[in-house]
Symmetry: C2
Subunit: 493 residues, 2 copies
């Protein structure tokens, strides 16, 4: 049966009208009743220029309160929000805008200035241009049907065409509930996010806010200093972060101890090196590794508080309403992670073939490789597409990267497979060094001391940067293309 619930923002505006919904580092505070009123007014202005139930409306914006108001406004109209990544090129955006049949594109000022007038073949308005419009006498949704689509996000796709992941209201609702049943809900919670709202991990915090009745602390521009300041002085109790932020925060945290009220640093966006997690544990930072993807509406597995320290590196177990298993495990137990649960998308927009391929009987094939230890804890190993098969052995780039990244002189590293006449593939490493004094011999020696011979890279390159996608993830498949960029002679073994 399709469940219907009262509109979540209206509900909070009724239950906790004067509670802060959004707080920013420039001192802005918006209560739930204010957020509701702003969003309802904005919905009526959008109705004025013709946005209707079921329409797909693109949102291309840096993190901004106007963006949050717009998303809620579109929910009041029953329109579908297509969240676009500001790091994409004009061409990439045009593909998504066309594919999603967007009727209107809403942009922030920064984005508006970046692209030429009429860059996209769709009516484009800035948030401000809508704000000056009159309100139409539009009837707004008082309820949300959990089966109705709410957002579409194109997966950044390290390979292939981007696919539009459709999230229903229910997907987001269940994701928020699954997280609550893991981390608990405290009346004093305040959730910090620095993630882009166009990613599901960023958006999900603002939806948890209206589902739980909880303030979001919202840093407009990420800096480790701002994050530390928010945790130390602004009453933040939970923070959503990705690995690079944790690293930067730890580097700055010398003699600072976070207050006990700061109870969770929720780490997403891919596996983190164990060395980083150990450093965090030493500094008493309550890091909870999680696992999720756009298709699962953010985390679907997260380590439990009581297990976080003894299972370092694990993403825990599937959240209460979710299930997880390893498909066709190899002799080491490593196989593809498949997941099921009411937070999992039911498919890709206008792409029944990809949907059928990815989701069978409710189980989503994630494309990620991992294993579950004897206590049932998930360890994510790698993207399946990045797996290197060398002489019949499975070689996981992340394992090698984790070892190399322990070296003091290594800034970052990517490992990828390269064709080889004898072994089929062999691993090669591309390293951004901290100083030129690092040699490939040092690297090889370091790895050879710790890993089996077939896992030792057959070539080591040095580069000034690694290729990343719009989601800021390293694209291993493009590593080979930056080799020419190596910038000192001992690069090649």
């Amino acid at each position: 049966m399709s469940e219907v619930i009262p509109h979540w923002l209206t509900k909070q505006a009724t239950l906790r009208p004067e509670k802060v919904a959004i707080e920013t580092d420039d001192g802005t505070c918006i209560t739930f009743i204010e957020l509701q009123d702003m969003s309802m007014s904005y919905a009526k202005k959008l109705a004025h220029i013709g946005v209707r139930r079921g329409d797909r409306v693109g949102v291309l914006s840096m993190n901004h309160i106007d963006m949050v108001v717009t998303i809620h406004a579109l929910s009041y109209l029953g329109a579908v929000v297509v969240l676009l990544n500001t790091r994409l090129t004009e061409k990439e955006l045009s593909y998504q805008i066309t594919h999603a049949d967007i009727v209107l594109l809403l942009v922030c000022n920064v984005v508006k200035e970046r692209f030429p007038e009429n860059a996209f073949s769709v009516m484009t308005k800035s948030f401000q241009e809508i704000n000056v419009l009159q309100e139409a006498p539009q009837v707004l949704q008082t309820e949300l049907c959990l089966d109705d689509p709410f957002t579409i996000m194109y997966t950044s796709g390290t390979t292939g065409r981007p696919k539009g992941v459709v999230h229903t209201y229910g997907n987001h609702w269940w994701s928020a509930i699954g997280s609550a049943l893991n981390l608990g809900i405290h009346d004093t919670d305040k959730w910090l996010t620095t993630l882009p709202i166009f990613h599901v991990g960023g958006l999900s915090v603002f939806l948890k806010s209206v589902i739980y009745g909880m303030p979001v602390y919202f840093i407009k521009k990420f800096s480790e200093r701002n994050v530390i300041q928010a945790i130390m002085n602004e009453g933040v109790t939970i923070a959503s972060v990705v690995t690079v932020m944790v690293q930067r925060v730890i580097n700055m945290l010398d003699h600072v101890i976070f207050p006990e009220t700061f109870r969770c640093m929720l780490l997403g966006g891919g596996p983190a090196p164990k060395s980083l997690l150990s450093q965090a544990a030493e500094k008493n930072i309550p890091i909870y590794q999680s696992y999720g993807l756009t298709e699962t509406s953010s985390q679907i597995a997260t380590i439990q508080p009581q297990d976080a320290r003894r299972k370092i590196g694990s993403a825990g177990k599937a959240l209460t309403p979710a299930q997880l298993k390893i498909s066709e495990p190899d002799i080491l137990g490593i196989g593809e992670i498949v997941v099921k649960g009411p937070m999992v998308t039911s498919g890709y927009f206008k792409d029944p073939e990809s949907s059928r391929k990815a989701i069978q009987h409710g189980w989503l094939s994630t494309g990620d490789l991992g294993y579950v230890d004897t206590d049932g804890f998930l360890y994510v190993v790698d993207r399946r597409t990045d797996l290197i098969i060398s002489g019949g052995e499975n070689v996981y780039p992340t394992e090698i990267e984790n070892i190399i990244s322990e070296m003091d002189l290594v800034e970052e590293v990517g490992v990828v497979g390269k064709d080889h006449p004898t072994w089929g593939e062999v691993p090669i490493a591309v390293i951004v060094p901290k100083t030129r004094s690092l040699t490939s011999e040092q690297v090889l020696q370091y790895v050879a001391d710790k890993l089996a011979p077939f896992k030792v890279p057959k070539e080591v390159y040095f580069a000034s940067h690694l290729p990343r996608n719009a989601a800021n993830k390293i694209v291993r498949q493009k590593l080979l293309s930056v080799i020419s960029d190596f910038n000192y002679p001992n690069g090649n073994v």
Copy 2:
């Protein structure tokens, strides 16, 4: 779309195997993994004597761990649990057993001794008789489909035939989530219940336990001393209670101050007198009045922590996934309370007519009268069937009862309408006095000082007890029948 989730007890046994699920006042502690193993074993024994998916199995038991295990066991089989009230007579039980097409009746030892062998026309077994059976090689449910029926409870019915309220897994799930979003979820929570498990308010605590992963503290026999002891010394943070318990606890609480970790005394089972709530507030007992009925799978409205003190007597606002409104309000704003939400039953067992009458477009007519104040807070006034219409004025028995119950010499009181040739109906009061020195003149004077003349009872009777139903609620419609029971001469005005 019908949502499917992993079996909730299996899930907790995976996530928190060693955490305590049930703790009793005799020192028994059962962890989630133990509770799972006991329930799975019990399910296979039930399968051994032929219980199958979809079968209705009656459970007639005092509160007991075996009863909880049985309920979970039946969920592993996909059977439907018909929870029967131990306070009912043989004839009343026989009606429900027949109506529900029960294939097997499971009873505790106390119940077994109470009824003659073969009292009911259905195979009857004690929990122990099942426990000695062998396990059948039965495949157990690993998932719960939220649309599947899980329990049936017959409403005690102060009037008319009892109706079998069907609760799906989803109804119970959403009820637990609604409560969590109101009260929060703390890792240290331990929920005390003294309510009968055959009522939804009692059962719901055990289901919250397996949905949240939270221990239940379980007092086998209610006494105010045990409740206070559990709160003072056993780490109880939340307690579910009904009015009479609060009264008794307060009477005993002289110089005791509850620990700060005790965060909620959740009060259900009908409106409580304001005087009691004020007393509780003076003693710093964090009472949260709630409103709910069997049809709403326990609370559907509860006062929020931050409002509990300034809105004494209110049951708050509808929980996050629920909606509530007043149908056809009178000039004072009082009308029938109608509610909607995914915790609301979709109907009565084998009674489509009653279902259609009670539930229209998802809105359930509760039969309760109430109003919502200008800030949106619900006040429950009375059962609609108890409303007295006197000379065209609405007279609410509870209002008069609350006034009379403030009198020192009054133990308890019920007010009911009696036919009257001039006014149509008039209110009359039946009082259980603390001493014989109380006179009807004193009562009438006390009421006349506080209420309008048409609300002053036209007759006052004294009785040794008031008629109650199996749910221990006063049955106002039977008050007139106990008048003959009045036991001292100045009873009649």
